[in-house]
């Protein structure tokens, strides 16, 4: 089934990117997380009419895409999930907000149009920033960053386990639906009569697997607590990276 396959290949693709040996990948995950969140925060905090200021924020994704050797088109594909809702909401602005701002020849630019463009730009920039983070930082490294900021181990472990078993269960779900569609070639999805048993089988198997996982943990000394090794150390490069971007974001916001 295409959706399952697509999800699988997307996971593998992002994983390959995140595990490249690049300068951006080597930056400390916590530093990248902080920079990403502050970038998104600064970006969305621009006023809805300050198009000029917002455009300058494009410096960050532009620089990282070029210097980090990442594909811009790959990132744009990810917009298709977020952009529809943003567009739906943004498209109404020109109707509600018709205050003329300036004329470009015959065409009158209204405040609503500007706010629509800024909203879309915010949507695009924030998706690009998140892409830059995940394309250079694996989920494991992000979990490592979460541990440093004292997110409880129970939550971090749960995220790691979910991530570990996603590809496995996607493959299993793929096999089940493949086996189904081979015997029901004319159907697009899963017929309602077997909604329950198809997903239910997968659920019970997942439950059994979690039991086996628990046994494997218990046999290796697990008693309800998780311990992790030392976190990656901060280096001067990481501090420099953090300093450069945070100064730049502050400057771009203030100018």
């Amino acid at each position: 089934m295409s959706k399952l396959d697509h999800a699988l290949s997307e996971i593998h693709h992002m994983d390959t990117l995140a595990n490249r040996d690049q300068w951006l990948n080597r930056i400390h995950p916590l530093v990248k997380l902080i920079v990403t969140v502050s970038y998104i925060t600064v970006t969305v905090s621009f006023h809805k009419y300050s198009l000029a200021g917002l455009l300058r924020m494009g410096v960050y994704p532009a620089a990282l895409f070029i210097l980090g050797d990442l594909s811009f088109t790959d990132a744009l594909k990810r917009l298709k999930i977020v952009l529809p809702l943003v567009c739906f909401i943004g498209l109404f602005n020109p109707f509600f907000d018709r205050l003329p701002v300036t004329n470009l020849g015959m065409f009158t630019v209204t405040a609503g149009m500007i706010s629509m463009v800024t909203l879309m730009l915010k949507g695009i920039f924030s998706v690009l920033a998140a892409y830059l983070l995940i394309a250079s930082t694996s989920i494991e490294k992000i979990c490592c960053a979460l541990r440093i900021i004292r997110v409880p181990p129970i939550l971090v472990t749960q995220i790691l386990l979910t991530y570990r078993y996603i590809s496995l269960l996607l493959e299993e779900a793929g096999r089940i639906t493949d086996a189904y569609s081979l015997r029901a070639p004319k159907q697009k999805g899963v017929h309602f009569k077997i909604w329950g048993s198809l997903a239910g089988q997968l659920l019970l198997r997942s439950m059994d697997r979690s039991e086996a996982v628990y046994q494997s943990m218990a046999l290796r000394g697990y008693r309800g607590e998780f311990y992790y090794g030392r976190n990656a150390a901060f280096r001067k490069k990481d501090a420099a990276y953090l300093l450069v971007w945070s100064c730049l974001f502050a400057a771009l916001k203030l100018v």
């Binding site: 595990n19 989920i139 078993y165 496995l168 697997r209 218990a218 046999l219 290796r220 000394g221 008693r223």
Partner: protein, 257 residues
């Protein structure tokens, strides 16, 4: 006389009251023993292995590991002594990278980070998979996963190794490697499998289980060459012996038909 590591006396076990899964199991195993646990599907091989590590506790009779009875409150001690390799590596390996997973047990035992690293390196080196150290688990092949599963229990430095169908889903080359590794271990090992060719190459002693009972316990060659015995309990001669058997048939047709 070597030290007795595993001692079972009159062990009975049932999942529910209706049908017994294991009946009157009695055997001992010593240091450096290599025991093959064979039997058809549903004979009780996995159940027996799980009893030894206390994954199933409400059994009757006595199970002692190095003279410690297997009970709820002795489980931490017992599990430190035993390494259990699951049939399904994907359930065994639940962390994201090879190194993290191998370090899981030593970290749970409260070892220092240096000692943990030392154990990880030692486990990787002893089965020659140092190159897999930083790999992600889901990207490993089936054979690699099996090797890493073994490494995750070697980092515990166990006295006893239990393996449930270790050669299943391995290609010939990986299977050969596995046999080589198994023969290197000096630990007491119990290998449950119906891959009798592998048992033949790795174990000196075989316990034949059928319907939850020990049918025969003895020398590997004696049991694995007994065609009638094996076939009566849902098994077949190991492939290498089938060739010999066929040859005998061709050479002395009258005596064997």
């Amino acid at each position: 006389m070597s030290h007795i590591h595993i001692c079972l006396e009159h062990v009975n076990y049932n999942y529910d009251t209706s049908c017994p899964v294991l009946k009157n199991i009695t055997f001992t195993a010593h240091e450096h023993d290599a025991v093959g646990l064979i039997g058809a599907n549903g004979a009780g091989k996995s159940t027996l292995l799980k009893l030894l590590v206390g994954l199933n506790l409400n059994y009757e009779g006595s199970i002692r590991i190095e003279d410690i009875p297997v009970e709820r409150n002795t489980l931490p001690v017992i599990r430190e002594k035993i390494g259990y390799v699951f049939q399904d590596s994907d359930s065994q390996l639940f962390l994201s990278t090879v190194k993290e997973d191998i370090a899981f047990a030593p970290r749970n035992y409260g070892l220092s980070e240096d000692e943990v690293n030392h154990r990880v390196e030692h486990a990787l080196a002893s089965i020659h998979i140092e190159h897999l150290r930083d790999r992600q688990i889901y990207k490993l092949s089936g054979g690699e996963k099996k090797m890493v599963s073994i490494a995750t229990i070697l980092s515990m430095i166990p006295d006893i190794i239990l393996m449930d169908e270790p050669s299943i889903a391995l290609d010939p080359k990986n299977r050969r490697r596995l046999i080589h590794i198994l023969n290197q271990f000096e630990h007491l090992k119990i290998i449950a499998s119906h891959d009798l060719d592998m048992i033949l190459e790795t174990c000196s002693r075989v316990i034949l289980l059928s319907d939850g009972e020990i049918i025969r316990d003895g020398n590997t060659m004696d049991i694995l060459s007994d065609k009638e015995l094996l076939e009566a309990h849902g098994l077949e001669l190991p492939l290498c012996m089938q060739d010999v058997d066929n040859l005998i048939h061709v050479m002395y047709p009258r005596q064997h038909s």
